[in-house]
């Protein structure tokens, strides 16, 4: 009986751990649809359509097939809305969930932090969090690697990011 109970508790704990949501999922679920928040979601299905739109450009096609989904959650920065600073809250919780710092950019407009979630030497998620009153979270999921991120720059004309290819992990 005791063995059975212990086994049951173990199975339940492992299953609940497996079904646990990431802090990014939780933030999106909590704030989407609420007053003062805007959510944009582009699904994996839409990306398959987008990948088929420009079949001549192989780099573009590679990028579109590698990206699984894009989620954006932004908070309005106006006097009518009390800011929640959800970006700061999210940044506090991300390291515990296995997300690692990629880059921190600070300028006169505030700071932008890039964090990545690695799964089997691949970047499964890239999260960009811009802080301040009007926090914005951009989550790009898929089978990303540094090359893919670098190819974002090709599409937008940023040459420096190509050097990321050569960075040893």
């Amino acid at each position: 009986m005791k063995k059975f109970l212990i086994l049951f508790l173990l199975v339940q704990t492992s299953l609940s751990g497996w079904a646990q949501k990431s802090p990014v999922d939780e933030v999106f679920e909590r704030y989407s649809g609420k007053d003062g928040f805007t959510t944009v979601y582009i699904s994996p299905k839409m990306f398959t359509i987008l990948a088929g739109m420009n079949t001549e450009d192989k780099d573009y096609q590679n990028l579109m097939t590698r990206i699984k989904s894009i989620r954006i959650l932004s908070e309005k920065a106006d006097s009518l809305h009390t800011p929640t600073f959800f970006g700061k809250e999210l940044l506090r919780r991300l390291p515990a969930a296995g997300y690692e710092d990629l880059m921190l950019v600070k300028d006169e407009n505030g700071e932008v932090r890039f964090m990545i979630l690695e799964v089997r030497n691949h970047i499964a998620e890239l999260v960009m969090v811009s802080g301040g009153k009007g926090s914005t979270v951009v989550s790009i999921t898929g089978d990303l690697d540094l090359k893919t991120i670098a190819s974002l720059s090709d599409k937008t004309g940023i040459e420096e990011l190509k050097d990321l290819d050569k960075v040893e992990k």
Binding site: I72, S153, T156
Partner: protein, 186 residues
Amino acid sequence: MDQKDIREILARYYEGATTEEEEFALAEYFSGHDVPGEFEQDKEWFKNRRSNIPEPGEDFSRKLLSVTTMPVPISKVRSQRVLWVYRMAASVALLITGYLILHSLRSEPSYMNDTYNDPQLAMAEVQKVLSDVSLNMKKGTESLPEIKRLGLAPATLAPFTRASRIAEKSIEELHSHSKMTDTTIN
């Protein structure tokens, strides 16, 4: 009853072969006062013996049967029932957990509906997001070329280091030469 009879009955009594009447006669004999010294111990035995063994009551056999014919003790039945309740509860809990996990995996949150149904609009949004991400990354990687230059610096300085080492060696040789000439002059 003479002493010989008493001895004979007592012998059978201790073997458990006496009748009720004989035992009654013995008890009566030993309760008297004129008991010879050789029967002193037997007299003590019969004095302390319970003469009145209660007869079993009418419902004795019923009570005995009710106890002996009961297949399983009540406590055991109860513990087995509790075990079944636990098993049932555990199974139900397992089913509920399984259902909840499947439900949470299958059902998607409300925001997980495509914001744009038109691929062109979705494309415009994706490009906007990617350029936003790239622009922010550009700000962070602007200093990369400078770091690269710094990385080249030790290689650039290498000939100078070699030259300085050669110079040091030559100076040392000069010093030893001058010392040698000094000693030969003196």
